[in-house]
């Protein structure tokens, strides 16, 4: 992992058209400003994780295991 130290109002560039600026640092939280083309998807890590697990969880048919799963919570 590339590690770079930055202060508030300083920025880094990723490629030719993505700029990440440190806007402020307060109480353990860093506020970032990102300038990027609209085609670049920008996600918080936890939202990216949600997208992955939602894709995995999307169902099209009723699984035979559902009955056992439901019974698990009726005991």
């Amino acid at each position: 992992m590339l590690v770079i130290r930055r202060r508030a109002s300083e920025s880094v560039w990723i490629g030719e058209d993505v700029e990440v600026e440190v806007l402020s640092i307060e109480g353990g939280q860093v506020k970032l400003g990102i300038r990027a083309p609209g085609t670049v998807l920008i996600l918080r890590q936890e939202v990216r994780e949600l997208r992955e697990i939602n894709q995995l969880s999307a169902q099209q048919a009723l699984s035979p295991a559902l009955g056992a799963l439901a019974a698990r919570f009726r005991r």
Partner: protein
């Protein structure tokens, strides 16, 4: 009465008031905004979240308190705005965790981003937490009955 021909549950007739509206959709399913909560007696307490916009899509969910009895909901300001809530304590909410049934027969519940539905309005949001307190893949132990 409107109805939808679903792949898993056959034809579901519903009242417009039963529709759940997720203004932002679900993560990765941002275009899916309208759902029905299907509660079948044989599957209780599981709740199926059936997409209105895509009849062959649904999610299996259950209340997170069933897998972690101490589960504490965290609603951020952005989630409250979507739900139209100013006061959290006095409102009726339904909280559901999406369940992942993996191909190898294991199950887990997503406690990182529960679905929170404001019952009086039917508005919902996938309320992703920012505190890393819970997993998106909290394991659920269960056994499929077998002949032996």
């Amino acid at each position: 009465m409107p109805s939808i021909d679903t792949k898993a549950f056959g034809t579901l007739a519903y009242q417009v008031a039963d529709l759940l509206e997720f203004p932002l959709g679900l993560a990765g399913f941002e275009q899916h905004r309208r759902f029905l909560a299907v509660d079948r007696p044989q599957s209780h307490p599981l709740v199926f979240l059936q997409s209105i916009d895509q009849p062959d899509l649904f999610f299996v969910t259950l209340p997170p308190a069933l897998v972690d009895r101490d589960y504490e909901l965290q609603l951020l300001e952005e989630h409250r705005e979507i739900l139209g809530l100013s006061d959290l304590s006095s409102v009726e909410m339904m909280v559901l965790s999406v369940v992942w049934l993996s191909a190898d027969g294991r199950a887990s519940a997503n406690l990182l981003g529960p679905l929170v539905i404001h019952c009086p309005s039917g508005r919902g949001v996938q309320a992703v937490r920012d505190d890393q307190r819970y997993s998106s893949r909290h394991p659920i132990e269960f056994q499929v009955a077998s002949c032996s």
